[in-house]
């Protein structure tokens, strides 16, 4: 009987394979779904501050009675004395710049803030009609950072930061015109604090095409894989269920990276953090529920992209094994549901899962105490 059932079901598996209409699932996979593969290098410096002259730098205070000293010797040193006050205090160090957004300027910043103080970086600009815009927000990872007392290296895309705050807008004619660093104290905090800007340069990312199926060995600051998926069958970004990418990768000793799945400027999915100090085979998964950040570099839009983006370090070697991006008619939801009355469904759940089984077990235990079940 069991064998017959299995044979019938196995026959159905063979006969019904691929027979149903494709309506509730989509899989973008294999290397022929790949339109292009590129890696990015941040090797084209378009502007640099030698940090030998303080004349371009200005200091601002949140309170008029605050004092600070700025010096330059290949690094800008902001030395501030903060007296204890019952309110927060801040000292700004800023300069004007002229960076067209069309060049996709990436700021490479090295700085060092005293332990105990908080600091941040703010970028601002103006669009083609002369209207000012901000490229920072309070929730950004560049704000209210804790000083570590050691040099930190930051890679900041002005374009990404502008998009994050203002949404999509035309970069043509827009430019970044102000760069500001600040240190801030909490109420009651007092002492002498230092912010050193040890390096400040702006690069335009260079993009290099490569064959993803063959191993590429270069220093790579980001890897982007453009899919030729064009939204067939009408699946929306909210229906993205899960993605996989497998590859061989090697990076610098400090390499930590993550994987993003992007549709235009929207992060649709993200993976875990990985490292690859030696040549490693890895299979990365990405989904909407893991989204916690935004890729620091942007080089393409209006396409479907898989982005391997370092949090630290660089890639040294890469070869793609395969990929799969899956959509479902109802993907795992990450948004709040419509209003429901929980009492009825909760009662159903508790009755079926706890009350009924426990009641029957108590009944059976009482009825069949000292029982012996005799198989015949």
């Amino acid at each position: 009987m069991l064998v017959i059932a299995v044979v019938i079901m196995a026959s159905m598996v063979v006969v019904l394979r691929g027979k149903n209409q494709q309506t509730t699932v989509l899989n973008v996979s294999n290397l022929n779904s790949l339109e292009s593969a590129n890696y990015i290098r941040l090797n084209n410096t378009i502007w640099q501050d030698p940090l030998t002259d303080t004349s371009q730098w200005h200091v601002g205070y949140s309170q008029p009675n605050m004092t600070a000293r700025v010096t330059a010797n290949g690094a800008i040193h902001l030395n501030a004395t903060i007296a204890s006050e019952p309110y927060p205090q801040a000292i700004n160090l800023y300069r004007s710049v002229n960076l067209p957004l069309t060049q996709n300027p990436i700021l490479i910043i090295s700085l060092d803030a005293s332990v105990g103080i908080h600091y941040g970086i703010r970028i601002a600009g103006q669009d083609s009609s002369g209207l000012p815009f901000q490229s920072w927000s309070e929730s950004s990872y560049l704000q209210h950072r804790s000083g570590l007392g050691k040099i930190e290296n930051l890679t900041v895309s002005a374009l990404v930061e502008a998009y994050k705050v203002n949404g999509i807008f035309s970069a043509a004619g827009s430019r970044i015109n102000s760069l500001l660093f600040y240190i801030e104290s909490t109420p009651g905090q007092a002492g002498q604090f230092v912010l050193d800007v040890d390096g400040l340069r702006v690069v335009a990312p260079n993009q290099y095409r490569f064959n993803a199926a063959s191993q590429v060995q270069e220093t790579m600051d980001e890897i982007t894989l453009t899919l030729n998926y064009t939204g067939v069958l009408g699946f929306a970004d909210s229906q993205f269920a899960q993605g996989y990418i497998d590859y061989y990768v090697k990076g610098t000793l400090d390499l930590d990276y993550t994987v993003y799945f992007m549709h235009g400027l929207t992060v649709v999915g993200q993976g875990f953090e990985y490292s690859a100090r030696s040549l490693t085979y890895n299979i990365a998964t990405f989904s909407a529920s893991k989204i916690t950040s935004y890729p620091p570099l942007l080089v393409d839009n209006n396409t479907f992209l898989i982005v391997l983006s370092p949090l630290r370090g660089s890639f040294l070697s890469f070869r793609l094994g395969g990929l799969s991006v899956r959509y479902l008619s109802q993907a795992p939801s990450t948004t709040a549901p419509t209003e429901i009355d929980p009492s009825a469904i909760l009662a159903y759940y508790l009755i079926f899962l706890f009350v009924t089984p426990v009641a029957i077990v108590i009944l059976v235990s009482r009825l069949l105490s000292n029982e012996n079940y005799h198989a015949s």
Binding site: V6, N20, T23, P332, L346, Y349, S365, L368, Y373, A375
Partner: protein, 432 residues
Amino acid sequence: MKITTPASAVLLSGLGIRFGLAPFTGHPGDIALFVTSQRLFYQTGTIDLKYFPTLPTIYYMQLLFYAPYQLLRLLGMPDFQYYDHTAMMIESLFLKLPSILCDVGIFVVLLSFTRKLNPATLFFLNPFPILLSSVWGTYDSMMLFPLILGLYIFATRNGGTASTVMFVFSGLLKLFGFVSFALAICDSIIRRRFRDELPLEVVGGLAIVAVVLFPVFLLGGFSSFLQVLVYRFIGLSSGTGGTHYGLIGEVLKIEPSGILPTLPIAIVLTCVGYSYESSRAKQSRSLLLVKWTLVAGFAFNLFSASQPQWLSWLIPLGILYGSFTGRVGLQYFAYLFGVLSTFLTITLLQGVSYMLIGNSTAFILGYIESIPGSVFLYAVMTTTMIVMLCGYSFSKKLKSFGLEVIPLTVLLYVQAYFWIVIVGVGRFLGVS
């Protein structure tokens, strides 16, 4: 074997509960993985073994049970979306059907094995197996059925190849099954069956594994299979979730940076323990096999990067061991263990609404769900319950079951809730 009227009543009740829950519930993340693979096969013809997130045997089983659903759909049967679940209602039922039927299989085997209805009932109407097979939609029952069947065959036929084949099948559904396979190999070595049973078991086992894995190899998924499943399971790779000590690690907040092959050590120690006891021949071999499989279950849960569903392994094994050794206390505590594990899993880890309406953002039971230190509370309570289950399994003083254990367990939860959630002792100790 003839099923008596009381056993039929229990069977029908358990099935009714499972079929009542299965269409309306589900773990949206896990069900999405399974339903994607099945829909890809039946809608596009894609054999999704390269990225299938678990062992291929699960995929084959689901293909078999999903086929009738596809046929019904082609014949025009409608199906419906229930809230935010990733599978439709009848579709969800068919995906869970293999696990539900394996629950039935375990019930029947326990009935035959113990010749008592009580132990089988304590498993079949235990909320935790019900939760896993009918609500969550995970497949631990599919591993446990051939495992328990293998133990039964081992006991009734005094060892033999048939039981070993069952252990291999069990391991191919979830790798824990290979522990009993290793113990059976140890048993053949101890009994010096070098010419007949041992070669057959080893070669037969390897051949079955090779046949099952060949399609994965053919479709280029063998590297990912090793990386995602095998290396991670035995602790030689951190996989995607990082390396930690599981429950003990959560309680003590041990977060080692390197890899920790705790499971190979646990398996070796289990084999050594079994071999030592078996060679002294004070207890029957079948009882020892149950006992050391149970010990391995304890070790896996406590000392590796365990998952909540692994707790279910201890329930039928504990009931079986309790039935053989006359430990009524162990059988009833295994039931209580399942009740509390269900409560802790749905409130502290998944969230009631997640498996009920498919959305984790809505908390229905705010006071016991969206609470600070929930994982720490879960780890403390679960570890305590496992230690108590260990006591009921092996302590000479805990052979019977006192009803006062139930309020004691509730008090433990209330105390842990007070100290961890309200006082926040985990934060003071730096572990939460």
